[in-house]
């Protein structure tokens, strides 16, 4: 899927972008605001809103000289629209639920890179960072669950999955060395399991 517009796998046109913009807010907004949030032209969005109002999926109300638009939550199509708007969160939820079943559990697991930033495309990697507990080999049961998660995440999204895994000791060494990967993880990773990145990767306090 397009990591910057996950809904585009199902609704690639301006309708998809406009509906997701409306799904993300509880406040009625102007057509111009929909266009800004959808990243589309105002004329294109206006035509699309007119059509969606005609179908009853979008509500229009007058506000002075302008019109305000909102998603009609009672419409039969509202639930799938809300789900489309939540696709990235659904990916995070499924990753977390899968990691919660792991034995042995990771010390830490997070998503980073374009999937975390939300700025990738259809061929961008899903980058996962895993820290393995001390005394757990990187083969056997651990390797099996890493492989299963990679395969599953690839199926959920259609994107290739890249896993970087470290032992607790190697991770501590990289933190002490202020490795660029650690800095990147501090800036953009989203926690999925275990010790939060901001605690695990915290720089040592200066004396």
């Amino acid at each position: 899927m397009d990591l910057s517009r996950p809904y585009a796998a199902v609704a690639p046109t301006v309708e998809g972008a406009a509906l997701v913009a409306l799904a993300q807010t509880t406040a009625p907004i102007t057509g111009r605001q929909v266009a800004v949030r959808a990243g589309a032209s105002q004329s294109g969005v206006q035509a699309c809103l007119n059509r969606l109002v005609e179908h009853g999926l979008v509500l229009r109300e007058g506000a002075g000289r302008a019109y305000l638009y909102s998603l009609n939550l009672d419409h039969l199509a509202a639930v799938p629209v809300l789900r489309l708007a939540e696709m990235r969160n659904l990916m995070l939820k499924q990753l977390r639920e899968t990691l919660a079943t792991w034995k042995p559990r990771p010390v830490h697991a997070s998503l980073y890179g374009s999937a975390a930033r939300g700025d990738g495309g259809t061929s961008s990697d899903i980058d996962l960072f895993l820290v393995r507990p001390s005394g757990v080999d990187d083969d056997g049961a651990w390797a099996d669950q890493v492989a299963r998660l990679s395969e599953a995440a690839g199926r959920w999204t259609g994107n290739p999955v890249q896993v970087v895994q470290l032992t607790e000791e190697d991770c501590a060494d990289l933190v002490a060395a202020e490795n660029p990967l650690i800095r990147k993880l501090r800036e953009e990773s989203i926690d999925l399991s275990g010790v939060p990145a901001r605690r695990l990767l915290r720089p040592s306090r200066r004396p």
């Binding site: 800004v36 949030r37 930033r117 926690d191 915290r202």
Partner: protein, 133 residues
């Protein structure tokens, strides 16, 4: 709705920048614990407040394309217009209620610090999910 003159347009780039600020402030907020001296608790709780405000900005910029720039209650109201943000908006409200006590009254209890850290984490987590959605 939040009055238009209390908001400023902002972009996904701004959202990412504010999220980076929020995470950095949260790191500072987590440096103190309940057993640390009161000044350190106050500094950490202040950082938690800043983390929460920055995270709310990040969410609003990413989802609404605008952020509040005047009063703090306006920021809570604007955040509430993001679907699913009720818990985050309540966390922001808690942080803003603590702000005056922490920064001006000068008595930050261990419970205040825990509350502020928890609220800031709620807001940063929500912002992480919102930015790039």
């Amino acid at each position: 709705m939040t009055p238009a003159d209390q908001t400023r347009p902002c972009t996904l780039v701004d959202a990412r920048k504010r999220l980076a600020h929020a995470r950095a402030f949260l790191d500072q907020a987590d440096l103190a614990g309940g057993n640390d001296p009161e000044p350190e608790r106050a500094a950490a709780a202040s950082s938690a407040v800043l983390a929460g405000i920055a995270a709310a900005d990040a969410t609003c910029c990413a989802v609404l394309g605008m952020k509040n720039h005047l009063d703090h209650q306006g920021a809570v109201s604007l955040l509430k217009t993001v679907r699913g943000a009720n818990q985050a908006a309540n966390a922001l409200n808690r942080l803003l209620n603590l702000k005056g006590q922490v920064q001006y009254v000068g008595e930050t209890s261990a419970a205040d610090l825990r509350t502020s850290q928890r609220a800031a984490r709620t807001l940063v987590t929500f912002a992480e999910h919102s930015v790039g959605q």
